[in-house]
């Protein structure tokens, strides 16, 4: 229960942060995520298998994801390919790369290999139960990343990145190079996605090249659910509500499995529900916007 919703919510919250950066801050619908999530998983898996320190493996997974994002940005910038297609191209190529990284296999069990989870358990074993220490660890990881991101988006570079997502033409007139911004933004976004994939692989005990199927849509659903929960334009709220969205999404999926059984809803319908959730969140957000406008006009 706690594991299925809160722990997975925290791990996928990191993925949702990445999706939030590309879709919301950069206004760049980036489908690389479907490839960079398993890329992070297989990179960390292979490193751990080679006996590397788990933290180093996580760092490498972050770098690998970042490299994938950079490739997408370069394809988009230099070849003037539309952003959706650039992401799809990278995602497609990554499928082969992921299999190569795993050494021409599609699946790597991590049970007998020392992972970051094992390291955490060794530290907390005498004091806390397995679930609580997992929860605590991922809570700390998520908030470290969240706070670092908040600080980054307060800097000049972070602010101009947000401004570019809003109005690219204006930023160009101010003398900011949008191409460089896209490279930095996308590599940061996909780096987080890769890190999330690496953590998820270690949490579930195996890395698989098919982990990423449709994951970008889940990430987007998490971002939109979060927007539906809290309305704000403060960056620390924005990054926090992404986590709430991720936890809510995981809860909906968990209870869909749990109780859907009684109303003849099979888990095969979950993808349909995901799509409907996104549409619903969008509709409600749009309606709220209109209400807000009306209330402003009423005051004037």
């Amino acid at each position: 229960m706690i594991e299925g919703i809160l722990v997975e919510g925290l791990i996928f919250g990191i993925l949702a942060l990445g999706v939030f950066i590309s879709f919301r801050i950069l206004d760049f619908p980036d489908l690389t995520v479907d490839g960079s999530f398993p890329l992070g998983a297989v990179t960390a898996g292979s490193c751990l298998q080679a006996g590397m320190h788990p933290l180093l493996a996580l760092l490498l997974a972050f770098i690998a994801g970042g490299a994938a994002g950079t490739i997408t940005a370069i394809i988009h910038n230099k070849l003037k390919v539309p952003n959706l297609l650039a992401g799809i191209l990278t995602m497609t190529m990554l499928y082969s790369i992921n299999i190569r990284v795993l050494g021409n296999r599609a699946n790597l069990p991590l049970l007998k290999i020392r992972t970051v989870i094992d390291d955490v358990m060794v530290l907390t074993e005498p004091h806390l139960s397995y679930t609580v220490s997992l929860l605590l660890f991922f809570l700390i990881v998520f908030f470290i990343i969240k706070i670092l991101l908040d600080i980054f988006f307060m800097t000049d570079m972070g602010l101009s990145m947000g401004a570019m997502g809003n109005n690219e033409q204006m930023v160009i007139t101010l003398g900011v190079n949008p191409e460089a911004m896209k490279i930095i933004g996308l590599s940061l976004s996909n780096g987080l996605v890769g890190l999330s994939g690496a953590l998820f692989a270690q949490y579930q005990g195996f890395a698989d090249v098919n982990l990423g199927q449709g994951i970008v849509v889940s990430g987007l659903a998490m971002v939109m659910l979060g927007e539906f929960l809290i309305r704000s334009n403060k960056i620390y709220f924005l990054t926090f509500r992404v986590l709430l969205g991720a936890i809510l999404f995981k809860a909906i999926m968990f209870y869909g499995r749990y109780y859907g059984y009684y109303i003849h809803l099979t888990p095969n319908d979950l993808k349909l529900i995901t799509g409907l959730l996104i549409i619903l969140s969008l509709t409600i957000s749009k309606m709220k916007d209109r209400d807000l406008l009306k209330s402003f006009r009423g005051k004037k």
Binding site: M1, R105, N210, R257, P267
Partner: protein
């Protein structure tokens, strides 16, 4: 622009050399009058790489090499992707292989659809009629026959229920695998006959397995895992959740049970199934018609592979009868894997 084109072309040619060097060298057929001594070409394709299917491939190759020492094998793996499975079949067709072996349902289906005039052997296919590979179990098709890995689902569930009280049985399977869906139906029927409540949940990929297990673990007394490739590849996620909740797992795949916390695994030795497929391949290469060979089953006592985890049984407070311990080919006792 011209320079760029030249650069790209030369890179392309270079990479072609690099990738080609990974391919096996094919010996030029030595022409000797009417009789050409051509090495036999055999294509083997599997849907994913996991221990059971790898053992099957190994067994088949060993038996074929005994009769045809210079046989050339083209080993392919679709990595879980149906599109790749079709392109592998196309490759075998253009390479003009003498015989193709498809391991698991999707790859066998791709071979059957593509290779109309080359003998195809399927193996590790649960229900070849349901998968549309052959018309009936009693005879093969014009160019296709093979071995089924239909597991005795009802006996497996009955065995688990005889060891510990099972009021409700949980089952996780992937809805996109024909094998898994068929086995889930059989498990559902078996539970109805045995008077056990059956709680099922499906996944569409391996990333959902852990959450799916957590969703049903509170409602079940035991978990049954069939020979479902997706779930077996994520078995560590299932066994992790189940062992924390103190729920026994009965699996139909012994080869993956050694690494995970599985109480009992009852299946075949896939290596032996590979050997049987190899013997069938030798028969077909020797000129026997596939239509004369019925679908084979792994039913003899020697083929059954039983694994019992005594350490886990002790943890769960389940006593394993001595005769069952005798039957087991593999026992896990005091952290050691004992083969007997």
């Amino acid at each position: 622009m011209k320079k760029l084109t030249t650069l790209f072309l030369s890179l392309f040619c270079l990479s072609a050399f690099v990738f080609a060097s990974g391919q096996q060298e094919t010996a030029a057929p030595a022409e000797k009058g009417a009789e050409t001594v051509k090495p036999i070409k055999i294509g083997i394709t599997k849907i994913v790489s996991h221990p059971a299917l790898d053992a099957l491939e190994q067994g088949a190759m060993e038996v074929i090499l005994e009769s045809y020492p210079d046989a050339q094998f083209d080993l392919q793996n679709a990595n879980g992707d149906m599109n790749t499975a079709s392109s592998i079949a196309q490759k075998f067709k253009s390479d003009k292989v003498d015989l193709a072996i498809g391991i698991a349902t999707p790859t066998a289906q791709a071979l059957a659809n593509t290779l109309k005039t080359t003998p195809v052997l399927y193996s590790a296919v649960t229900d070849p009629v349901d998968a549309g590979l052959v018309e009936s179990y009693d005879q093969g098709g014009a160019y296709i026959t093979g071995i089924s890995d239909m597991t005795p689902v009802k006996d497996q569930i009955a065995l688990l229920a005889s060891l510990t009280e099972i009021k409700t049985l949980g089952h996780i399977y992937s809805s996109s695998e024909a094998n898994a869906v068929r086995l889930a139906e059989m498990a559902r029927e078996a539970c109805a006959e045995l008077g056990i409540e059956f709680i099922e949940t499906t996944v569409s990929n391996s990333a959902e397995v852990k959450q799916a297990t957590q969703a049903i673990i509170g409602k079940v007394d035991g978990i049954y895992i069939s020979t479902d490739n997706t779930v077996v590849s994520a078995l560590s996620a299932v066994s992790d959740v189940a062992s924390r909740a103190g729920i026994p797992i009965m699996s139909a795949d012994p080869s993956s049970a050694e690494e995970n916390q599985i109480l009992i695994a009852w299946g075949f030795d896939y290596y032996k199934m590979g050997k049987a497929a190899g013997r069938m391949a030798v028969e077909v290469l020797g000129g026997k018609k596939t239509s004369d060979i019925p679908t084979a089953y792994m039913t003899s006592v020697d083929d059954i592979d039983l694994l019992v985890n005594l350490d886990l049984a002790a943890q769960l407070g389940i006593t394993i009868p001595a005769d069952l311990q005798k039957k087991a080919a593999t026992l896990i006792k005091n952290g050691e894997i004992i083969k007997q």
